[in-house]
Symmetry: C2
Subunit: 199 residues, 2 copies
């Protein structure tokens, strides 16, 4: 099938989205071209604005279009409580679950020596630096309940325990070996409320 | 969940794609922002080019960025054979099935008096006009095998039969009541090869 150049380019562009194969891309292209060009133009503008204008928060390392993200600059949140997560998707999942009003720090994944991901690569020194001069009394180590996530929590706990900071993990209820991002909000809210203190 | 404006706009823009709900849109936005900004920029460029630069072929009414589409301007195709379809998706489906080397005409759907879709609305006068001065000897009425599609084929057959043009329908093999667009290529190629002549 030889599509004309702009239609070909559109189908190829849509295949750059995760989970979109050739048939789905064709269906999307047809929908936009035949039924909703306004939606196509809006998406183009939104993509440009986001790809060029969204960076990372200097404090918590979450996606942000300001130096300091909305969660870090919100004066209504509890500075004494810091939740450490291993991805941006997890921040969104916890926020959407509700029930947490502290601050966040986003690691770049979890420790995985096989993949060359050590403390530096995933941002643990940046986590410690971000805590300096702040009155954090509890750190919730909300990494995934996987081998790597547990190892990451354990490693950070070893660094923070000498500072007398209360350390906690999310309560179980989260399926073992599962990914935080895909847990339903209710379970996640429950796990947050029932978080266990590390001794 | 209060996303920052550009991230909110991106998620909303992605929801303009068919079949993309809130969770999928978030996952797509994260993928583009965190893993592939190049793909996001390419999609933006492709959308702009396509939404503004793709119109309709003046002869066959299929999507085209030129006055005459590639299929109409290809000198290697058989001018004596005209396949009438009820959507652009059907043109792509027939082309992808292979085995057809004639020309096309794309109706805007099928006759549906209840919905106010008469011959004028779906482009039947334009079909007749496009055939003037051309040596079409056979018209394949490849509308869907639904009540409306059959009625549309029947209506067009009534107009063309007096002109001595051979009329055909796609061979069965296509599931009754089904949509052409979703039939697999093999079945579609088979149905084309075994098309039946209307008496
Ligand atoms: Zn922040
Ligand atoms: Zn054409």
């Amino acid at each position: 099938m030889s599509f004309s150049p702009r239609i070909r380019q559109l189908i190829d562009g849509l295949r750059g989205l995760p989970g979109v194969g050739p048939k789905t891309a064709q269906r999307m292209a047809l929908h936009l071209l035949e039924r909703d060009r306004g939606a196509g133009r809006q998406l183009a503008v939104a993509l440009e604005a986001a790809m060029d204008g969204v960076g990372y928060c200097q404090r918590c390392r979450s996606l942000s279009e300001e130096d300091l993200c909305r969660l870090c600059s919100d004066p209504g949140r509890d500075d004494s409580l810091l939740c450490v997560l291993q991805s941006q998707a997890d921040v969104w999942a916890v926020e959407q679950a509700g029930g947490f009003n502290g601050r966040y720090f986003v690691l770049k994944g979890s420790l995985s020596p096989i993949d060359g991901l050590g403390p530096e690569e995933i941002g643990i020194p940046a986590l410690l630096a971000s805590m300096q001069g702040r009155a954090v009394t509890e750190v919730i180590l909300a990494t995934n309940p996987t081998v790597e996530g547990e190892a990451t929590a354990h490693y950070i706990a070893g660094l923070l325990r000498p500072k007398g900071i209360r350390l906690s993990r999310l309560a179980h209820g989260i399926p073992l070996g599962g990914e935080l991002e895909f847990v339903d909000g209710g379970t996640l809210a429950h796990a947050l409320a029932g978080r266990t203190v590390l001794d």
